[in-house]
């Protein structure tokens, strides 16, 4: 026997007993228990403290709407703050601790707030803590922050993994109560692809919490049989522990499956949870209803809970929630709870607000009475009842069930801003407004509260949904079930009650709502925001309606006039981990490796992230202790002899078709029509707004075949842009675009000895001499005895240089061969840093210069924008603002004192002017140490820079403490005439 409050029966497995601890105390429960049911079975009612006043709290519900019984579940890196004890499945060794209390749950120092509650009313903090000014960050806020918050999150990385997945179905059924099961049965038998999802770990909804009969068997048994039947259908996927968290556009639903939360830890390789993106043609919401409380004085003590929860604990979990209990109700359903409890031998009294309350011999009913106060510091000990006669009577009880009627779970119908509408007969909001497309509602969620109505509306909804899809549905016979009429007389709060809790977690009382109204926070949204009503972790599932009712009361309006707040996703809070899935840590994004990656690793290269690519930054040699040594060596050796660099990451786009040249004329600012076959040309690409978008080269391999290169970063956007130009602007041009970035391993071979090196691997029939293969030549060749390759004589370094491309799978071998054959020239591999140094020395623009705000004019390429033809961006590049007399121009900068550094990101100031924004002259885009010039150099944009060569300006970087003089020079630090290129 597990626990003194354990009754007979129930859906728990008494043969499997689980040991667990709460606040360090050992208890035992059964398989099928939740943490809450197990604790209650052990006589533990106090499970938490409220947010503001730190009032003692116990479970108010038996489900995911729980506002009070929230704990820190598990320990160490797996600690989960704010976990509902009412939904946490018990497992052997479970560890839970109470939260938001100090030093202990029983003796919480912060409970002092409860005494000060008159001062801590709604929004009090907006009216004080303003003086002295500095005290907010230093004193008030730290205190408030420490007092606020619920559970605490650990610092260790979440050790579990999460998956994401995609499901497709004709019909998604949300909720596996009587309505959902009937719908699934109907759709399943009709052969449709069905997903039946329920947040619980036992399916059946109220059928497993109540004692009603379906035909001649009890509801729980029928539910189990039906689930088994559905599981046997190949076209039906039954998913328990699966919460549909949101209804998104066009029939897409988010669903979280808790794969391993009921286990001590996930099995190897298995995820903790899965986020399913469900693509449904139709969906049925059969999410049931939630009972609502009545608001009265001190209605928040442990032992006071929803009547339906008491019933569920007794029926499903065989737990008695009190030795002597009362039920406070305004409707017939409260009597159902009383009947169930009495049948379990629990002494029960019913306090019914209705003078015409039904009477029975099974228990005492106090008609026209109401609960006007309660006692019990850490748990209910007695209540004060005011009878219809007006006299009061005290009842010594330790359990009070409250039933204020039921609210349909309309949440998902609001996720696309559908507004629920008020139903007078049910005294509740039912789905209204525009529902998410393809979604219909059945059962209690639609206001069909009786089991019979749930079964019938579930089947009808399935028939309707399948009909929409053109599927003829069979209608399996459904069992007969209770069809009791709904008898409820609205009763929201006991008149005069002040410290009566509406939102129990956030400690919003009836008084707070009245105050909000008094201060003109009268729109529902103002009420919500000002009092924090409904903003707790239960999103107001048990509090919103009572809040509206009280607001309506003070405003002298009807509830629908006051309005309603719509619910937002997610339906219940979702672990951030599952929304991220596998995209975290090293696998946050894919890694792209260059063809020479593994070879470079062998060389001990230092790698750097460039977008998704990993690129070799430099190749340290023995004895080199600082990166600069490696980079300087790579640069000097390349300029002196020859170096090789993997430039595969540059985008490559195959442009073919009879209009290929004409097409390039449109996308590039400069002309390509006259480019001869076998030649390459630099191209500058503008956005339509006239700003430089990207640059690269286009090599003409044939009349109707170009190979275009883009910068690494812009490979994808440029391809997208070219497809836009092709499909949307010039649809009748005969041009085809294929990205071939990955197909070719491409290496820059640069330096005076680059030709000599290449001649050793290029097959003899190809003449790559300066005459046979001049500057900017390109062609298809073979290497190493017949391997197809492409050769381009282009140079980013400013040296005599080539780029050679072979099919990617041979990239590794080619690099090794180049190094082998290059030994006689002391060939060096060079990385991204050396590449950067050499292009800065040569004054070539790159990403830092093409920063999305620079024009051809800024780059000193104004003349390249052909006026002879129309090209993307040419027109808007003519706007005056982009062509001002003092426009920024790309220049080189060199320290006056050669020891001084040039810092990228530093700003430029005219000598003798104040250092402020008003006198800003420009900024440094790229900087490096030039081993060739023996000093730092930089490229930058300077107002009218082209006319200021030779001027000494100030380079300032207050952020990094730099302020010294630099000389404005030509951006071409090395070989300005370009003789080396053509050698």
């Amino acid at each position: 026997m597990t626990g003194k409050n354990r009754l007979n029966g129930g859906l728990i497995d008494r043969s499997t007993s689980f040991g667990f601890t709460f606040d360090g105390v050992r208890y035992s429960g059964c398989a099928g228990d939740t943490l809450a049911s197990a604790l209650l079975a052990n006589g533990v009612r106090l499970m938490g403290r409220s947010f503001k006043y730190h009032r003692p709290r116990g479970p108010m519900t038996s489900g995911s709407e729980e506002p009070n019984a929230i704990v820190e579940l598990r320990s160490g890196a797996r600690k989960e703050p704010n976990t509902r004890a009412t939904t946490a499945e018990l497992f052997d060794g479970l560890v839970a601790n109470s939260q938001n209390r100090w030093p202990s749950l029983k003796w919480d120092a912060m409970a002092i707030n409860d005494l000060f509650s008159p001062f801590l009313t709604a929004g009090f903090y907006y009216k004080t803590f303003m003086w002295p000014k500095a005290f907010w960050e230093k004193l008030y806020e730290p205190i408030i922050r420490r007092a606020a918050g619920l559970g605490s999150l650990g610092h260790d990385p979440d050790p579990d993994s999460y998956d994401k997945g995609f499901l497709h179905c004709d019909l998604l059924i949300i909720g596996a109560g009587p309505a959902g099961l009937a719908a699934a049965l109907t759709a399943g038998e009709s052969g449709a692809r069905v997903i039946l999802a329920d947040e619980d770990f036992v399916l059946g909804g109220r059928l497993i919490a109540d004692t009603g009969m379906l035909a001649d068997e009890d509801g729980a048994a029928w539910a189990a049989e039906t689930v088994a039947r559905l599981n046997s259908m190949p076209n039906v996927r039954v998913m328990s522990r699966s919460t549909v968290i949101g209804a998104f556009d066009h029939g897409i639903y988010g669903m979280v499956e808790r794969v391993s939360d009921h286990l001590p830890e996930p099995a190897p390789g298995k995820p903790r949870q899965i986020l399913w993106r469900v693509y449904s043609k139709r969906a049925i919401l059969a999410g049931g209803a939630t009972e609502r409380p009545i608001v009265f004085e001190n209605n928040d003590r442990p032992g006071i809970m929803l009547a339906s929860a008491m019933r569920a604990y007794a029926n499903r979990w065989a737990v008695s929630t009190g030795s002597a209990v009362a039920v406070f109700t305004n409707n017939d359903d409260g009597h159902r709870t009383a009947a169930d409890l009495v049948s379990k031998g629990v002494k029960t009294t019913v306090i019914d607000t209705r003078p015409d309350a039904p009477d029975t011999a099974d228990y005492e009913t106090l008609a026209g009475a109401s609960v006007t106060n309660t006692q019990g510091r850490l748990g209910l000990t007695a209540i004060e009842v005011t009878l219809s006669s007006g006299t009061t009577r005290s009842l010594t009880i330790d359990g009070l069930g409250v039933s204020g009627g039921w609210n349909p779970n309309v949440h998902l119908t609001c996720h696309q801003r559908g507004r629920p509408q008020w139903d007078e007969k049910l005294a509740a909001f039912i789905p209204g407004g525009t529902l998410p497309s393809g979604l219909s509602v059945a059962g209690a969620a639609s206001g069909a509260f009786s089991t019979h109505a749930a079964l019938q509306t579930g089947q009808a909804a399935a028939v309707q949904a399948l009909g929409d899809l053109g599927v003829k549905s069979s209608t399996p016979d459904l069992p007969t079930a209770e069809d009791a009429p709904i008898r409820v007389t609205p009763f929201w709060h006991v008149a005069g009650a002040k410290r009566a809790w509406v939102d129990q977690q956030n400690d919003v009382t009836a008084k707070d709502i009245k105050l909000a109204h008094q201060e003109n926070f009268r729109s529902v949204e103002h009420l919500k925001r000002y009092t924090t009503l409904g903003m707790a972790t239960d999103q107001g599932k048990t509090s919103n309606i009572a809040g509206l009712a009280i607001m309506a009361d003070v405003a002298g309006k009807q509830i629908p006039e006051v309005g309603t707040t719509i619910f937002r996703p997610p339906y219940t809070p979702v672990a951030m981990g599952v929304l991220a899935g596998r995209s975290r840590d090293k696998t946050f994004r894919p890694v792209r490796k260059t063809p020479s990656h593994y070879w470079a690793e062998e060389q001990g290269a230092v790698f750097v992230e460039v977008g998704m690519w990993m690129r070799a930054q430099w190749f340290p040699q023995p004895g080199e202790t600082h990166w600069r040594q490696s980079v300087d060596r790579e640069v000097l050796q390349t300029r002196k002899s020859v170096g090789v660099c993997d430039c595969t990451t540059l985008g490559k786009i195959d442009v073919q078709g009879t209009d290929a040249a004409e097409f390039l004329n449109k996308v590039y600012a400069n002309g390509f029509a006259k480019l001869p076959v076998g030649k390459t040309r630099y191209g500058l690409m503008l956005r339509e707004d006239g700003i430089a978008m990207d640059d690269g080269t286009a090599a003409r391999l044939a009349d109707d075949h170009f190979v275009v290169t883009t910068t690494t970063a812009n490979a994808v956007p440029v391809y997208r842009h070219m497809e836009f130009v092709r499909q949307c602007l010039f649809p009748d041009m005969d041009v085809q675009l294929i990205s071939t970035t990955e197909a070719w391993a491409q290496y820059a071979v640069a330096g005076p000895n680059s030709r000599k090196l290449l001649q050793k691997i290029v097959d003899p029939e190809f003449d790559i001499s300066n005459d046979g293969f001049p500057f900017m030549a390109c062609g298809e060749i073979t290497v190493c005895g017949g391997l197809r390759a492409r050769l381009f004589r282009i140079s980013f370094s400013g040296e005599l240089a080539f780029e050679i491309a072979v099919p990617t799978r041979y990239g590794d071998a080619l690099m090794r061969r180049l190094m082998e054959e290059g030994k006689e020239f002391d060939v060096v591999p060079y990385g991204l840093e050396a590449l950067g140094v050499m292009r800065i020395e040569k004054g070539h623009a790159a990403g830092n210069e093409l920063n999305g705000t620079t024009t051809a004019n800024n780059l000193g390429m104004g003349r390249m924008v052909s006026k002879a033809k129309d090209s993307i961006g040419s027109k808007l590049s003519e706007r005056p603002g982009l062509n001002e007399a003092d426009a920024l121009k790309l220049v080189g900068l060199k320290p006056v004192n050669s020891d001084d550094k040039v810092v990228a990101g530093a700003h430029l100031m005219t000598k003798g002017t104040p250092v402020d924004a008003a006198h800003d002259q420009g900024y440094i885009t790229s900087a490096c140490f030039s081993p060739n010039l023996g000093c730092h150099i930089g490229l930058g944009y300077l107002k009218s820079g082209d006319t200021r060569i030779g001027e000494i300006v100030r380079l300032v970087s207050p952020l990094t403490g730099v302020d010294h003089e630099v000389e404005v020079v030509s951006a071409h630090f090395v070989d300005p005439e370009g003789e080396r290129l053509r050698a």
Partner: protein
């Protein structure tokens, strides 16, 4: 014949292969690829030529067809041709000769890495990887979709054989995603 030796997308001399539960995951490197994009107004000529090449009608939208040489649909009037690398190392040139000026041909062999999944209920791994609805695929289907942020082709050879083509440079990441999904699913 040249003397350079190739590397597989995963960076080895030989293609990798592993078994996860009942499912085998193989790196496939013996297939040559070339894209065929019809020139404007030459769509029918291209289909006809392609039919000669693969010995079957040019595959319709989201389908693949052929025998030794196969083609799969990649876009409007655009296909990818697959052929044994052994015999068709220079597939692109071969296709150019066959199809001539009717289409633009581009070598794609090394633009892609390919992994084949072989086993039962493969959809259970695939549903953790991509949005393609593969549960009732029976063979001949192809869909381009996103797997772990990578643009991939998923081809169904037969109900128990799925090929996944992804960008070659990201082979390691794609392989890791496939292995992880198989462990989670099987």
């Amino acid at each position: 014949m040249h003397d350079l030796s190739p590397l597989t997308p995963l960076g080895n001399a030989e293609p990798s292969m592993e078994t996860i539960g009942e499912v085998t995951l193989t790196e496939v490197t013996d297939v040559a690829l070339a894209s065929v994009a019809a020139r404007l107004g030459r769509e029918e000529d291209t289909r006809a030529a392609l039919k000669k090449v693969i010995g079957a009608d040019a595959p319709e939208t989201s389908r693949h067809a052929g025998s030794t040489l196969r083609a799969f649909w990649t876009g409007p009037d655009q296909w990818m041709v697959e052929a044994p690398l052994e015999t068709h190392e220079d597939l692109a040139k071969m296709l150019s000769n066959e199809i001539g000026a009717a289409a633009s041909i581009t070598e794609q062999t090394d633009a892609w890495c390919r992994f084949d999944l072989v086993g039962r209920d493969l959809f259970r791994a695939l549903e953790l990887l991509c949005a393609a609805d593969t549960a009732d695929w029976s063979g001949g289907e192809v869909q381009r979709c996103s797997i772990e942020h990578l643009g991939c082709f998923v081809l169904c050879r037969d109900p128990s054989t799925i090929s996944i083509l992804g960008p070659r440079s990201a082979a390691g990441s794609l392989h890791h995603a496939l292995v992880t999904a198989c462990h989670a699913a099987f």
